[in-house]
Subunit: 345 residues, 4 copies
């Protein structure tokens, strides 16, 4: 099979670099175009990109000349991790020009005709693509999004609990890694020996996306899940890995062992980038930890631990995901693999 | 006035060092005895103590020969920051031998005849001293305690809200500094580029002490406040300063501006170590931060910020205190100053 | 005495903030003007400045409206910590307009008619001011500079050794704090769990300034000291405090105890910001450390330790200075105090 | 071929864990015994070991019951990473009992009949084994050692330069990772926002081992290389990866491009754990960095950069190695592979 030829929008950023890393030897996709801001366009990727990953820059992308962000790339689909300020216009333009857009940007996530997908949870929401194309007059193009990286750290266990027992409310506090802010991102003077209690714009995103993801597609529209989410977001001195402290109220009574079971047995998928286990419950008292657990399942497994009865809500637990893999680039690649399997590509 | 002559139990530890620092030029107290484990006893303090504070070791204490922990110190009262394993027996022995014991240890905090004091909040609980002396057969000695350092980061704003509107429940997540674990404490391999989701024994302490502190003394016994507290505790890569993410349900309706007002106007005291403001509300969106706010009021002010309506409980906010000053050594010194003012010393 | 009325150029930066902090209660100077880039001009300082110090912003400066950087400030002298790109033109303009310019910028340091001063070492170089005014046609204005912050960490012990025994060469490796790069400065992704082996432009500065500082003023010109300096500069995950690992070859033989003595007994000054001891030699094996020693002498003392014979050069030692106090803002304030004492102001 | 059955002495420590990780799927070795202190003996490895690596504990070792450190393990050879205090006696006992001992401990490294090996540099020193067995009366057993982890960061480029041009002297400053101190190792209070200028015992080791490694085997004894090494060692807030700042004087003149060439072209080996390139020279100005380069060649490549003429010695450069892989466990495994190839096993 010929590989699907992909372009990366926002290729020089933190998430763009992860796309290059993840697609280096991918069996279904090959990178043929890299697009970035005017400042980078025209340069070799190896010159334009301040590579910050611990594996070397793939040979394949080093010699690609960076293109401007314009919907005339010679490729079959685009992955986008553009900054919000330009994502709205650019992604629409690509979709209108016929490109499938697999987006990690926030701007379209909550639009009612745009799928917001965690494949293991709500792949059936892809049916929105047809609605979207019809409504927006897109021909072959469309936009599919993945959630905010903080949401990914807690939505999967909530999905498991919601399906089994119903979720009424979730009170969440996140301890988020600096890579979530991109590069240069958080100044070191702000985070060394410190905690930041404010991530601009993050709490509203984290409070609204989960209900859409866990919602049901009815008559071509998402009926959002009815629970309420409260999120306080903190930035901590961690490179990668978002930790979420969660308390949850359930609709039905559920014994502790059932809570543990439904989380750890929640169904996974069998896509190329799917981990062996979508969620893994650790019984070690000091897990999950970003440093020790973020690479679980090559960064695609959600690790959950410290599941206990809570004395105000029903249960408490701690959940962790790798924010630039499962929470960003890996999420988008998984979405693309899902689109292949579901014959959208 | 002659100064009160004090001894420090556990003098070489992180909190013991803070006692030496805080009492260096204190108008009411002077250190005359330093006691520590067998390993240190007999050595000069300057030799026995791995000093870790950013101000130099006071000249006064350098030349004191460390004593064993035995209730025959030549002093008028003792401050104790002994590890739990030996505090129970040693503090009782000192009290029985006639010493007032101002303790930062956890073992007696929840005993019904032992005052657990934050002076600004519940100084009237000192009346328990008489009950304690009677019950335990102490002559002049007694034990007074200050709360766990995590509790100190959130109990003050809860006290203000409880007095004004009643508190029904509080859901709290703490991000705690490594100095709270003493020295050597947390290994660097565990905390660099990491978050620890478990502090052994901390969550139960943090969930029970606040109700006692905010309780009422009725007929020689504390009636605990009736609200419930849920706490998840995390260790983060911060030297000093515990941050608490708080959601709270109130008994009465309270508009946001009133919530802010009762916290920021909560009464302080006029003791030597009292800060100008017991609690300070910051309106900066990115405050409180440990690095920038822990030294407020010489480490004795609680800084509160990000007070907003919550979408599950009534309000959310972030609260910060310096864990080894307001949360440990400074708390004990303030308790001692209170005891002087109330004529217990 | 009326205080001298000063303006700060580059007032919102890391060093500019330190000027505001240091001059808050200064007996000789009072801040009356704050100047910064166009982006900040016209705003209140409290709005324009992302304050990053652990002490609160002084009330005095909060309400000052930030001026543009133009030589029409209503003040008697200016402190400058402008970025290199604009410092050259702006500082010249201020000097030409009659302002004494006490500069922390690098652009004029090595000009032959500009004094590069560490007051304890080479205050007699101030005689260059007359040369400078004559040569450049300045009327009352002039420019006086302090050294690069890395140089300040090792030049003082070299000065002591040079005066006593002659220095032939010094091989130095620096471990520099992130505050030396200003704000936002070093991205956290670059420094968490990492060391950066390159600080752009730093090594050449660090290799040339010491010879000028330790040079002699002869016939209105500096004869540079003749030793050679080799410097490799590293950035480490430290907020404040530059550490220098030094090996040095001396012209004359010198026993170890003499080396220690001449460093620790090197003469200080008696200016307002002078520390009790200009240099302090620690005999503790694990000192100096940035966290424990940078605040020595309110950040104005150089701490030296681990002085031992070396097996290639003659001696080795470790030297530490607070880079934004003794190495930047404090250095400039000390220079200004020196200028007052020497009647230049 | 049947795999060689190995035991690990000091199996629960930082380096012991790396042995378990590296040997998980090794084609030549399989772990059959794990030995550790009395405290761990008798427990399952999964219970006894505070696993700190980012990959999960291998299934194979989880169920092994930890043995005491006694020379009656049922295996063909032992890897040792015992602490110095007990290594001397234990390793001798194992060798005397017939076990080949591949040691990462420091106690025998400088003994004249014990090979101190970096396979790419001095594999011919293995001939000392025969001398050792004869001298000590060992039958089949012997001890082979790998260097101190700091030495491994700079000895390889020195070896390349020494072979090509002769090395006269090297002035080195190291910035070492905390994992080099084992677990619990460096307290977080000591290293957060800090640098430690003293690693007990490290500088002498780092100054003597290189000459032995680069020495020549003549008539059954090592003639040490004649250059002198000066090393100042610092601990920095890095998890893994030792950085060395090096200046070197060469015997012969050598142009810069030749210096770069002989380092980057230095011969490697073709053992299982050998990296594609033993040393890699980066021309990026900000490399090597621990975070970005320590995993090069799966942690077995030495990365060198910033090679420039020095103004006191001949050249300067920065060299980096992964201290627990190339500098400890990986070094020992490579030594074992070399012993297989050379028919000692």
């Amino acid at each position: 099979m010929n590989k699907i030829r992909v372009g990366i929008l926002g290729a020089t950023g933190t998430v763009g670099q992860r796309f290059c890393q993840l697609l280096e030897d991918h069996p279904q996709f090959e990178i043929v175009a890299l697009a970035a801001s005017e400042r980078s366009a025209g340069k070799l990727y190896s010159e334009a990109c301040p590579w910050k990953l611990q594996t070397p820059m793939p040979e394949r992308v080093k010699e690609i000349v960076v293109s401007p962000i314009s919907p005339d790339l010679d490729c079959d689909l685009v992955f986008s991790s553009l900054p919000g300020s330009i994502a709205r216009e650019a992604e629409e333009a690509f979709a209108r020009a016929g490109y499938p857009v697999i987006s990690n940007s926030s701007c379209y996530r909550m639009e009612e005709d745009v799928p917001l997908i965690i494949p293991e949870i709500n792949h059936e929401h892809l049916d929105l693509i047809e609605v979207q194309q019809h409504k927006r007059g897109f021909d072959r193009g469309f936009i599919v999004t993945n959630p905010n990286c903080a949401v990914v750290s807690f939505a999967p266990p909530l999905a498991a609990l919601n399906e089994a027992f119903g979720v009424e409310s979730a009170v969440i506090t996140t301890l988020q890694a600096v890579s979530g802010a991109g590069y240069p991102g958080v100044p070191s003077l702000d985070i060394l020996d410190n905690v930041l209690p404010h991530i601009p714009g993050e709490e509203p995103k984290a409070e609204t996306e989960a209900q859409k993801i866990l919602g049901k597609l009815v008559d071509g529209a998402i009926e959002k899940a009815e629970f309420t989410v409260s999120v306080q977001c903190f930035r901590v001195a961690v490179t990668d890995g978002h930790t979420a402290a969660v308390r949850v109220n359930l609709t039905e009574n559920a014994p502790l062992e059932e809570v543990i079971r439904v989380i750890s047995e929640y169904k996974g998928l069998d896509l190329h980038s799917s981990p062996d286990r979508f969620m893994e419950v650790s019984e070690e008292p000091a897990h999950p930890q970003p440093k020790l657990d973020r690479e679980n399942g090559d960064g695609m497994t959600i690790t959950v631990g410290r599941i206990f009865p809570d004395n105000i809500l029903d249960y408490r637990f701690v959940s962790l995901s790798h924010n630039t893999l499962r929470g960003a680039a890996g999420a988008a690649v998984l979405n693309a693999e899902l689109l292949v399997e579901k014959k959208y590509l």
